[in-house]
Amino acid sequence: MIPQTRLVEVRQNVLKQNDIVARELRQRFHDAGVCVVSLVSSPGSGKTAFLEKTLTMMRPNYHVAALVGDLATDNDAARLARSRAPVRQITTGTLCHLEAAMVRTALVGWELDQLDFLFIENVGNLVCPASYDVGEDLRLVLLSVTEGEDKPLKYPTIFNTSDLAVLTKMDLAEAVEFDIAAAHSNIQRVRPGMPVLRVSSKSGAGMDEWLQFLASARKSRLGHSTVEQAF
């Protein structure tokens, strides 16, 4: 008998398992009233320095915590721990990105409702993290002035899936002749309307504006999620 070929429709998203876990996480974050911000960038763009500065500046006013993903070593977690905020490392081994299930595992034992902000630092990579939702409210893409101004055009997907772009290492901009206008226009080309902040984690320039951005993001988020209890 000659085998017959039959076409069967499936229509299933390949990443549906990740999407399901990410949705569950987003609901948990929402219920706990914690604002979750993820950070993506290429390796060496200053994610950890930026996050360390952010955690240190926020700690007096907010309950903050961070998860940090890396292929190997817990060096970044050790650096972030200097801020005295709770920090956990996710070591991904050979995996080039974080997935929602890894975030869920890393959160075991943490009381989310005690937190105002949770930061998730992804593995340094501008390609793979774009495809994986980790349940965050806001995705930040960092671009350092020591990289090319055309990075957004080379990696349009990650820029397009982000909510805010942060230009880092601004203290070096002049020395490396970084063309800020070109960087802005390239970002707007791949993600029209995305806000862009400029910071230097070293000098602290631009950090106040970033903290204000976070505070208003949390406020608008809480406005949507819970009714503040009146005492």
Binding site: T5, N13, L15, P192
Partner: protein
């Protein structure tokens, strides 16, 4: 490079479907791949071959339908196909355009089963 883990998910999905149909051999998987899915076609095709080894999909084809980015133009009030995922601008009226209606797909659309 996350194409291998994506290929393995595709194979798992197809194995499951085939299992539900009496373990029929899968001769082809049809995949929709958006230009903004963050997946490289060539890398996915070579990873797919590896992922199929020793499964009911061994020797099967991965047929990829590439989908360009389509976004809704706020001025023309029409869905427009972008010339490039590197420039979110309406090809007709040149307005910036950001409401994506197609382009993030990474979907197993259909399977060819041998019965």
């Amino acid at each position: 490079m996350h194409e291998l883990s994506i290929a393995m998910s595709i194979v798992e999905m197809a194995e499951e479907e085939s299992g539900q149909r009496g373990g029929a051999r899968v001769s082809a998987v049809h995949l929709k791949l958006g230009a903004l899915a963050g997946v490289v076609k060539a890398a996915l095709l070579s990873s797919y071959e590896m992922a199929c080894e020793g499964t009911v999909l061994q020797g099967s084809r991965l047929v990829i339908e590439e989908l360009p980015v389509v976004a809704h133009c706020p001025k023309c009030l029409e869905p427009r196909t972008l010339d490039s995922p590197q420039w979110f601008i309406c090809p007709e009226c040149k307005s910036p355009i950001s409401e994506i209606v197609q382009g993030r797909e990474l979907q197993v659309f259909a399977l060819e089963l041998q019965e």
